[in-house]
Amino acid sequence: VNGGIQCATCTVVVTLTEQLAQVHNDSVAQALARLCSYMPQGQLQYACKIIIETLGPVVIDMLEKHETPDVICHALHLCTVDEGQPQCHLFPVPKDVSIQDRAMKYSNYGTSGLAWKHRRKEP
């Protein structure tokens, strides 16, 4: 429910990315690239690159705006709030507004659009 293992994985990966950026004094984009470069060569690294190419721009944009991993994974629709279920969060919830409402702010970005925009900027 609520995205289950996909949500958990997303939250962990986004948290790690944010922490990597801080530890290495990287930008979020560099931290994502670093995370993929740590993966063993082959299928795993390939998979990592595809995921970053698809979802990375949203993550970069939102982390730069200091959103929490919970909000980012909701914006990516990997975390949800299923009917009758509570809202799940690992980190403190943003003040005055629910995680979903906060994530909604980013819904008009569109994953593929951002990916395209990102590629244009940084070929």
């Binding site: 429910v1 609520n2 995205g3 289950g4 293992i5 996909q6 949500c7 958990a8 962990v12 948290t15 790690l16 922490q19 990597l20 801080q22 530890v23 995370l35 470069s37 740590y38 993966m39 063993p40 082959g42 299928q43 795993l44 390939y46 998979a47 595809i50 995921i51 698809t54 990516l76 629709h77 990997l78 279920q85 509570p86 809202q87 799940c88 969060h89 690992l90 980190f91 403190p92």
Partner: protein, 424 residues
């Protein structure tokens, strides 16, 4: 949106699913359920096959023609002694009562472990993730380091502590037992699903040596991810029914002269008690994720392996412990009831060693959290695996010496002649 639907990722997802569904060796040419490959239920889990083209050659087999020409049981002992003219197998092993070790169990049996460095940005690097494919191919488990069938120390540098196991002790006691181990631990295994998982046991009643079998389902009959967790636990009646079926299966499967150790369920309330004030590896950098928070998040997503014990609600934790005690009592009663009624093996019940091991650790000045896996906050770690192996072995030596066979007086000669016996 599903990550597994992305192009290129689907193949990977399908591949992982196949590994997780099939608990027999993926690479096994002769179909004897033993493999020369390490992962994918290969030699990490069962003794390495010394000939993957002949079904009759595998660990635990009774030797053919005294193994004069080939090592048919893969214990590294073969050939003929020039002085006596006798095959070495006859000379060293024939009267030694060789017994293999098999473990039917869950993720504790299989030794589930996620290296904490993978969740700590300060420590994460290429070197740390080098063993990621190996780990995935072993279903996220480290059976080769486990307390029942572990046979080597960690070589990745990722795991603190050395290995000791029942298999290693059995091998030390009788070198003829070399490579005769099978770990049938399956993550999430409970008494019901184990009725299917135990079919992976590779043993021929007539052609193989007897087995010392461990039935160790220490948590999943009371552990599940449901929010109404108490309603989804195995009932004492179901436990009894499932366990009786397992006994029936084993009686039909194992060679005469085998033994069964039935381990009771753990008291998982020790998890929360020992971790409640500690920071989870994910929150180490900022100190902002403590275990109760982590447990509640996992419960909310219903991905927790154990909503009953990994829970900040004491009433639910206590209810889980109560049911675990009831189920252990069922196992104990069935073992007592079936005494003398099983044709091919005798059985003995042992309370889960984790509790006494933790108490002893604390009595020596240790802290409980030092024996718990930091990432999942649920399983026992490498140090605890070693300690539970030592505890169980001492119990067997003291109370059930006939379960473990005699010390082989030829051990030193075997080592001198055959060295590491082909390794693992």
């Amino acid at each position: 949106f599903s990550v597994c639907k992305l192009p290129g990722i689907k193949i990977l997802c399908d591949w992982i699913e196949r590994i997780f569904d099939d608990h027999n060796p993926a690479l096994d040419i002769d179909g004897d359920n033993f493999s020369t490959f390490q992962t994918l239920r290969g030699s990490s889990w069962r003794g390495k096959d010394c000939n993957d083209e002949q079904e009759n050659i595998h660990p635990g087999a009774k030797p053919e023609l005294g193994d004069v020409f080939h090592d048919t049981n893969c214990n590294g002992i073969y050939g003929v002694d020039g002085n006596t003219g006798l095959p070495y197998e006859d000379l060293y092993c024939k009267d030694s009562q060789p017994i293999g070790v098999a473990a039917i169990g869950d993720s504790v049996t299989a030794h589930f472990h996620i290296p904490p460095e993978w969740l700590e940005a300060e420590k994460l690097n290429v070197e740390m993730l080098r063993y990621l494919p190996f780990w995935l191919e072993n279903e996220l488990d480290w059976p080769h380091l486990s307390g029942t069938t572990g046979f080597m120390n960690d070589t990745t540098g990722r795991i603190e502590g050395s290995t000791d196991s029942i298999y290693l002790q059995m091998r030390k006691r009788n070198r003829c037992n070399h490579r005769d181990y099978q770990n049938l631990g399956v993550n999430g295994g409970r008494s019901g699903s184990t009725l299917n998982n135990e079919n992976a046991l590779a043993r021929d009643k007539l052609k193989d040596n007897p087995l010392l079998v461990f039935y160790a389902l220490v948590g999943n009959d009371v552990c599940n991810g449901h929010s109404d967790t108490l309603a989804h636990m195995t009932s004492p009646e179901e436990m009894r029914k499932n366990f009786l079926k397992t006994l029936k299966f084993l009686d039909a499967k194992v060679p005469n002269g085998s033994h069964l150790i039935v381990i009771g369920l753990a008291d998982g309330s020790l998890l929360y008690d020992n971790l409640k004030n500690r920071v989870h590896p994910l929150g180490k950098l900022w100190g902002n994720v403590k275990y109760p928070q982590f447990y509640d998040w996992f419960n909310c997503l219903q991905v927790t392996p154990c909503a009953g014990w990994m829970n900040s609600n004491a009433t639910i934790r206590n209810g889980t412990t109560k049911r675990a005690r009831e189920l252990s009592q069922v196992l104990k009663s069935v073992v007592a009831e079936t005494k003398g009624k099983l044709r091919n093996f005798d059985a003995s019940y042992l309370d889960c060693p984790i509790g006494p091991v933790l108490d002893a650790w604390k009595a020596q000045g240790g802290e409980g959290w030092q024996l718990i896996e930091p990432v999942d906050g649920f399983h026992i770690n490498q140090i605890a695996h070693k300690l539970t192996a030592e505890y169980t072995w001492n119990y067997l030596e003291k109370n059930l010496p006939h379960f473990i066979g005699n010390i082989n007086p030829h051990n030193a000669e075997i080592i001198k002649k055959f060295g590491e016996q082909g390794g693992h």
